[in-house]
Symmetry: C2
Subunit: 289 residues, 2 copies
DNA sequence: TCGAATTTGCGCATATCTGCACAATAATAT
DNA sequence: ATATTATTGTGCAGATATGCGCAAATTCGA
């Protein structure tokens, strides 16, 4: 089997992840020149250009992307090992990163952050707002709030509650006949989401006047009078500018999962944050089944 | 996440696998002193004794074993990456290692090795005879012949044939009533194997006069007149000293799988060896289903 | 019982790598 | 436009790691 320097690969992954030599250098705690030299060494050893060196940034070549894909398993293993070492050393983890969608992060978690800080002033909680699900196996976060059941076997997943949805619209909508309603929905890239499929079946032939990938933007548009929108109950019910509209078809709810790694969970701060999140979810989004 | 030097881990894994500083040093292509120092560095960074330094050998501590377990995924990833790099570079792989059980290796594969060498003189084929299934993910072999379906998802597995079994005994056995037969079987550690379970149901109350973990030893014992034994057809039929005995219960057969990694298979020599093995199996152990 | 072959441990000269400082370039904000 | 900030590239001195040689210890075989 071909041998290569694992340290070079570590630098390459940091670069691919950080996006710049400087960023990778900061993450690794070394000088940017060192990262540059190790990447050059890896390229020489493999006889491939891995990155395009640009004046102000670097971009992975095709081969670089391919290498990144192939190294995914190794990186997962290294992150897992890092978690184990953390747990074994009883590392004083004081910073816990939570990954969540924008809507969940800002409307569900953020309002309770003061209470959490009061109870756990020693823990710095970071909300990593990510459009797509965070890559726990890349070490981007310690905890994640997901709306789909995690499939990765090594993960510790806890079913925390159910996110109920409702159809909301401007106050006048309740009195108007449903045939005159306009609608607001996700854009095309979210066609696969259950909620979006439900909305499409409800809309029928009526117009969809605004689309956005950002749920909060949809909310604002609805509050401005643009049309009806499907929102989580914990968001729609709290907005005085919107009223809940009657629905013919039952609105499917989404399970809420809290996921982390077993080794991470052994760290008390991570467990504390997980308990905190479970409490929030249980309060605002209790399980329905 | 805790950061650590991946190169140190590489040295540690080589040491754990090689069993000695010198062996690891040879495998890594460095001096033994370097391995020693890197292990010391890793121990210092982790603040744990990983190996007992003995005058003539090293032995992993409990923590070392634990670390080895936790690093398994990372090692798998690195091996996989190495395979990819081999395939990408079109590495001139001329040595292909095949892992197989002793019986399969010596009686099924070995007799055809001259023919293979005639057709592919450029390929050095190594038969790694391993009692248990070889650890492909540790890079111990490029190909493996297994009698159970591989569960690892990343593997490329090919169903090559079926190993049919038969009950064999010394020539005189055919004329003697079955109630007087004695039997030969695996020892206790193989109780879970399908063949052994079948044998036990056939034996009933009749005596088992010899047990061995080595199938070939069982064969020799049977040929010496000791009793009846369950053997693969390709072994039993080829032995003039044994006759096939009538069986009441149908003898279950075992599927024969050829497994490797996709990236390895892209190397022509590996593909050639796999085709060679598939041909042997198809000839001597055709599929039954 | 004795000798040969491995293996680990240690010190030293050398080779390699790293960090730092500075220059150049491009994106961004004022 | 202009200043500011952040990034990459390069040369150099110091720090670090590596390989080599030798000694000590132990196992294996004769």
């Amino acid at each position: 089997m071909r041998k290569f320097d694992w340290q070079d690969l570590q630098h390459f992954l940091a670069l691919a992840h950080g996006g710049s030599l400087s960023g990778a250098a900061r993450a690794l705690g070394v000088d940017h020149a060192t990262v540059s030299r190790r990447i050059a060494a890896l390229e020489a050893a493999l006889d491939v250009k891995l990155v395009h060196r640009l004046p102000r940034s670097v971009r992975l070549t095709r081969e670089g992307e391919a290498l990144l894909d192939r190294a995914a398993l190794a990186e997962r293993g290294m992150v897992q090992l890092g978690h184990y070492l953390d747990a074994r050393a009883g590392a004083a983890t004081t910073e816990v990163r939570v990954s969540a969608s924008p809507a969940v992060a800002t409307r569900l978690v953020a309002p309770s952050l003061p209470a959490f800080h009061r109870d756990h002033p020693e823990i710095t909680l970071t909300l990593a707002v990510t459009p797509e699900i965070a890559q726990l196996d890349r070490g981007e976060a310690e905890l994640a709030i997901r709306l789909v059941e995690p499939t990765e076997g090594e993960l510790l997943a806890r079913r925390a509650g159910s996110m109920a949805f409702g159809l909301y619209g401007p106050p006048g909508y309740a009195a108007r006949p449903g045939a005159e309603w306009s609608f607001i929905g996700y854009d095309d890239t979210y066609e696969h989401v259950t909620q979006q499929q439900w909305l499409r079946s409800v809309v029928g032939n009526r117009p969809v006047v605004f689309r956005s990938s950002d749920l909060l933007a949809q909310q604002e548009a609805a509050a401005a009078g643009l049309g009806a929108v499907s929102l989580p109950r914990f968001i729609g019910d709290a907005d005085d500018r919107l009223v809940r509209l009657p629905q013919q078809q039952p609105h499917p709810s989404a399970p809420i999962w809290l996921v982390t790694y077993p080794d991470l969970f052994r760290a008390p701060p991570v467990a504390a944050v997980m308990a905190f999140l479970a409490g929030i979810v249980a309060e605002h989004c209790p399980r329905e089944d």
